[in-house]
């Protein structure tokens, strides 16, 4: 079941005109922002499929930038987000891609500053719901059926154990877990699906652990 809550259907409260192209895009942008944990200095946004064909009319561009600025789907500042980004000195670039993707509403965000960068691919599956399918070159094997946490970390011993301990302490049951890394000792990613909704406290505690660089909730 991709949709689990009645508020996926009656909701979200949002700025028009399109739940998949506006609210969904804002949410993809906001996931990127949450993972990056600070305002980027630049962002390059690539649109595929229906996003590429119609993003101007749907305000997908302002919405995704609004998300990057940490605005929620109903934040009226979304309408002015590109101007706000400009005033803040954030360099935003849009690219329309021809590549055929598995889902018609696909966006790739690369963003960063002098300290680092992040790249993710998100799809907007309808009604404002989104899935992140790729992060920093890692393909994510998320079913989209359960609440999930993404943890970007350094490949060190104990990192995985410390994360699972925190999850156990908060009485969350792990249904699926996937660990992958670029190279031994380098950047690694934990994808964790749990059965219960995830509190902000869990995210905060995971973020404060050693060797953990980015933590975010993906779907709930």
């Amino acid at each position: 079941m991709k949709y689990k809550s009645v508020f996926d259907i009656i909701g979200p409260v949002m700025i028009g005109p399109s739940s998949s192209h506006t609210a969904g895009a804002a949410r993809i942008g906001r996931v990127a922002r949450n993972l990056f944990r600070r305002e980027p200095k630049w962002a390059t946004i690539s649109f595929y499929g229906s996003f590429a064909k119609t993003y101007k009319g749907h305000g997908t561009d302002v919405a995704i930038v609004g998300g990057i600025l940490d605005y929620d789907t109903y934040d009226e500042r979304i309408i002015e987000s590109i101007n706000v980004a400009k005033q803040k000195g954030i360099k935003v670039k849009f690219q329309e891609e021809d590549a055929i993707t598995d889902h018609p509403n696909t966006a790739r965000i690369r963003m960063g500053d002098d300290k680092g960068e992040i790249e993710l691919v998100g799809i907007s599956i309808g009604g404002g719901k989104v899935e992140i399918i790729e992060l920093n070159g890692f393909e994510l094997k998320l079913s989209g059926h359960h609440p999930a946490i993404l943890v970007v970390h350094d490949d060190r011993f104990g990192a995985i154990a410390s994360v699972s301990n925190v999850i156990a302490k908060h009485q969350l049951n792990i249904g699926h877990m996937d660990v992958s890394r670029k190279e031994k000792g380098q950047m690694a990613l934990m994808t964790i699906e749990v059965d219960q909704p995830i509190d902000e406290a869990v995210i905060n505690e995971l973020t404060s652990l050693p060797n953990i660089t980015q933590v975010t909730r993906i779907s709930d």
Partner: protein, 297 residues
Amino acid sequence: MFRNVAELVELAESQNKKISDIMIEQEIEFTGKTFEEVYSQMERNLEVMEQAVARGLEGVKSHSGLTGGDAVLLQKYIEKGNSLCGDTILDAVSKAVATNEVNAAMGTICATPTAGSAGVVPGTLFAVKNKLNPTKDEMIRFLFASGAFGFVVANNASISGAAGGCQAEVGSASGMAAAAIVEMAGGTPSQSAEAMAITLKNMLGLVCDPVAGLVEVPCVKRNAMGAANAMVAADMALAGITSRIPCDEVIDAMYKIGQTMPVALRETAQGGLAATPTGRELEAKIFGVSLNKREDS
């Protein structure tokens, strides 16, 4: 957890409950939230819908200038008292239009189930309100009941125009509204399912062909017709009329039609009304240049 309409109706009827009760219980079970939390979140959504209708009835204009003001025209027409359809249907139509005009103007709305189809459920709700005088509780339950049917469609087919055409958006919204109207009017859960089936059957094959890629033309008027469709189907179901094709099979048919629909007709602005000479002209006018889209990809 119900996976389809048959299970939803069975759960409600075997326990002598309303569709909305089943949806609320499932939400509590899934999220671990309290009844009060779930209920008040829906209450807030209802308030957003009410505000959007009010704003649309005052008159809005979209940035492109393509839409806005039609809800006001309809209300003035209704006031003259000479309408052919009758006040309740036209009131639903005008309030659906009001909401979708606000959406097109980048105003605040509640996606139901999507933004492009956000007018139908509130439009019918606030029109039926004048007829049935529901309590606030019954109005909140209207949203849970419509949500239950939307939940089934979203999980078994699609509610996205890009994935399944406008039948998946306005079609779903209309079916959801019809089912909720039946519950509010005192019909049975299975009558709600019949209303949903009858509505959706008449929305099958509806393409998503937004002119210039904007959620305006034909979206606003499709919300109008979706609302009218829902009202008629609800009355039919309340009269005891049933759908020869069961609701779940109609939803499945909708899904399969969506999958076989060409990409040009799924929210890409490459075909249908978007590709008409006037559609292309409007596109060129709005964006300064014709986007010169292929019509047959």
